[in-house]
Symmetry: D2
Subunit: 342 residues, 4 copies
């Protein structure tokens, strides 16, 4: 049976990635695509790589007949989603890919996003969408909040370790290298090929990146105490991919074994052999996550490496995995595509 889905905000990268993935999903059909500024255009005009598909044209949200829709993906910009979702039929299943419903606490939202939340009642019920750790809640949810792509990366490295109590909670450093599609289709000088290719830089330095709020919320909840990590992302000249290099204080073998046990049955998480480093090249365009662990030469220090594709497992692939759960479809359906290499 085919489930009908809508993608709100289909003219950005995460929207297009959803279309790409759903285009070969056997049990899902795209029934509506919205894009306010590009309403009336075909997806093949906005994204020529999708021109072979038979898709509904982009329309305005008001034009969608939600009565015929089983689930809506909301791929709108941060701070826009909350009002749009508030106005949707209250029984419609929704997956939001923005940051709007990731934080459960209104005050924390205000602190990091600089505004009052417009739908606090939804904020309270939204389920955090990190599939492997919220699977049951997601299955039963009406509204799921997709995680930040950096936030997902750091959590894959750390959640089992925090739960198991095998690392020092005060000495965690999350060092990330991220691809540029994480910044979306925004027109900024530093995202131009001429300025981005052939170089790298850190950004949002000094503990200012908003995904810290997700780390704080989730790690503190897991640990039952306040946990604050140090987190620095770097921008590298690659379109897709995040490489997390997470510095922890703990025993390397114990770290490895804890992660291996936690991810033993997970269809998308691959543990590398101990001492091996993953590469973002090897997960590009896929929903797979590669995890590696190494001990430092000094006992009691280790590193966890996580490679994933920010647009797939870090965003739209995660959303589709969650949609499968919410719609009663087998969780991995449509998501087994192999990475693209080279």
């Amino acid at each position: 049976m085919s489930h009908k889905v809508a993608i709100l905000g289909a003219s950005g990268y995460t929207g297009a990635e959803l279309v790409r993935l759903i285009s070969t999903h056997p049990d899902m059909e795209i029934a509506a695509l919205t894009g306010d500024r590009k309403a009336g255009m075909g997806m093949g005009e906005v994204f020529p790589f999708l021109r072979h598909l038979d898709l509904p044209p982009l329309c305005r949200i008001e034009e969608v007949d939600f009565a015929t829709i089983d689930l809506a993906f909301c791929a709108l910009p941060h701070a826009t989603s909350q009002n749009v979702i508030k106005a949707l039929p209250s029984d419609l299943k929704v997956i939001d890919l923005s940051a709007d419903f990731r934080l459960r606490d209104g005050a924390v939202y205000r602190k990091w996003y600089g505004k009052e939340h417009d739908a606090p009642e939804l904020q309270a019920v939204a389920v955090y969408g990190l599939t492997e750790f919220y699977r049951d809640e997601i299955r039963a949810a009406r509204l799921v909040a997709g995680t930040g792509c950096n936030a997902a990366t750091g959590q894959y490295a750390l959640r089992p370790l925090i739960s198991a109590g095998v690392i020092d909670l005060d000495e965690i450093i999350i060092n990330l290298i991220t691809g540029v599609s994480g910044a979306g289709r925004s027109l900024k000088e530093n995202l131009l090929h001429a300025e981005l290719s052939e170089g790298t830089n850190a950004y949002a330095i000094g503990g200012t990146h908003r995904h810290l709020a997700e780390f704080d919320q989730e790690f503190s909840l897991l640990a039952g105490r306040k946990v604050e990590v140090q987190f620095t992302p770097h921008l590298a000249p690659m379109n897709r991919g995040i490489l997390g290099n997470v510095y922890v204080q703990g025993d390397g073998r114990q770290v490895y074994d804890t992660l291996a046990a936690a991810y033993a049955g997970e269809p998308f998480i691959q543990m590398l052999p101990f001492g091996a480093a993953p590469s973002t090249h090897d997960v590009r365009g896929s929903n797979y996550v590669h995890v590696g662990v190494a001990s430092d030469r000094r006992p009691g220090r280790a590193q966890v490496f996580v490679a994933l594709d920010n647009l797939t497992k870090g965003s739209s692939g995660q959303a589709l995995q969650n949609a499968n759960l919410m719609l009663g479809i087998e969780e991995t359906t449509g998501l087994r595509l192999a990475p693209l290499f080279p």
Copy 2:
């Protein structure tokens, strides 16, 4: 029903691309993978992007039980394939991805490849694998010769035009820009990132590229007279993709209409609107071909643009499409994957 296939020479890019594509093919199963120098290793070691798959380890060709194999893909280097294929069971269906069986004439083979062919009897019966133009022959073939990736690109631009007699056969220029994976996994200084990125150059200039032999053979056959084109490939810093810009003398609109008519029912060939230029970005990782046509400001001159992915439609995707035909599977099975963008 699942068909069992073997991939001979699976440790190169075209072999790995076959594995990627077949991994989500519903009716095909990889029963054997060979790689002489890497025999004994797992594919996930040779290509970590495939580590999530449950695959047979690489073995030596002699170790394969061909009695259980329905079709073998031969992804070995040029000049190696011919002897390997000669030694295979004579009723085994084979698709060769090398250049060994593209040329039907022994003398022409000798001229371009500098050696006598070791299996002239097979050379005579091999079917040229450009699916859209040899569909019936491929369906009935025992041995299919995959085309050169550049050769495919040029032929998609030109075959219908030559057949229809709408261009001057003596004034054809095929200008190509190709991605580096076309050179395979060869260790050469000019293929290093440090030497290839951020620049471009022509190569095999002056009418020396071996794919000219394919153009000569196919175009002369179509035209019923000798046709010689001018052909220059350029190497650009991209891993996948070929952009053909084919200069012809003829009426632009007639050129467009001829191509549009020829490709009207083709599942993988997309005609762009008249005057639009395709981009290799829009076909990356897919089996789709985008075709555009523009008239020059001077009447009687036009350009045909063709974008395809050299590893997919130009090589392994083409091979899989042909395998579907040879095995009686619906032609597009496993090949509808959308391109990867960005």
Copy 3:
């Protein structure tokens, strides 16, 4: 003796490239930098790569005391330059890097740029800035019009051949691959790293690129008859560099000898051996031009390859070379910097 120069419009790539080059020029001093939208900022803020230099801050054009300036480089956008230059002191030496003064004929300007020229009296006296071919006029000029970067590339391949009458004037095809900095610092989706890297496409197809106007003007003047070429640029994922592949009908050896003779004494033009193809990698960041020639397998057909850096020899380096001539400085001063490789 140090000559004082101003750079008007210093916040774009050509302005910054002028600063880069002049920073090690022994006889030139940057006395003023303008940038209307960024007035008040330091160049090191706008372009951190220049932060080691002691430069005047960006100011508004009105704030420059042109009485103290020996020569002004005008690196403003097309159609903006003409009014700015008209308002400058009439005895100030000026080099314009925009398209505004490249075309001598008002009607031709109107046709290609869609507006009436605002300074036709200057249009008539401006000298076309292709140094090697207008050296004496440039030395004596008050206003020099920098050439288009694509236009320079095509002319280096063709001017000596047209002058010598060794090629068919009706069968010239200029095929170019250009780096993205040629598009300037403009914020457009297709110039984003995510959309530009790892792929290529033709643009301004069908005889619509404005540099055709320069080819028409210059080649017709040289030939003493109307010459119209076919010209298609392609965008490749590289920041600097243009590779011209110019298809001509003529004898390859004669073509080579004609070019070699024409460029024998030129300090910046390097002839490669016959049959060798230049690469943009080998001229990056420099004022050098590499020229190669190959014969096709069919007699009477040849190709000329030209590689140069669009921002240096194609724009700011050319401008500095011309400034040297206009100020009586040895022509190559400050321009002998070797290319950057890798």
Copy 4:
């Protein structure tokens, strides 16, 4: 007065970079170039980007008349240099760019490089070539050992902090992102464009990178106690550049002020404003180093960022700066070239 220099091992990237830099040095002349495997070839054949220069052809070391040479740069592979340098005239000034003379202790050398040193007597007298910290010793040295490029990066971040005692010596993490030219012109699969572009990975993880030996030696010497840092390099798809992100425990402002004071008079080291992050884009091709500092949100934790070009300041530019000192030339001569951007 022009000093005559030889470059031994000129066919690699550091050798070619030396030629690039020296080509516009007013007081230095390249009198000999050696390259055993390419002896007899011109540098313009080996590196076409140098074809405009009038250089001696590559020869074998035995063919060089060292009596006419004032200083030799030795750009040979690790473990090769020591025997070559041992055989040179004992009064010849030498700068070695390999790792052979960086470590003063024979046992430490043996541990990290797995062999006995062949010239321990030279090992004892070689001066470590980090110019800003060994200026006087370098001026007087006969043999200078160029530092590792990663080692230089980490030391620019840390030396003043260790000397001043403002950070916790047991909690130092050096996280680096490096460009691929640091690996030299080696033919390895992971350095191919097809495998390196568009992705990133850590390497030499777990405290195994040989530059750790330099950190250990230098930091322990400075601190007067054993100091062991954690160090992980990542490979990013860029040809030049290293970005160091060094995590320290100390007061951010004090860290900044300490570095600013230490580098106040340094011609090549640029302190960014507090809280700003440098980018490798802004130092490409130059001898400049950009240094930034940020405090974490948690008091007592800070980060130091260092951007430099591995081939210039990290290797050949450093060598030339040292050569200037050794030959009595003004230290910055020939090294003021601005970075190349974009």
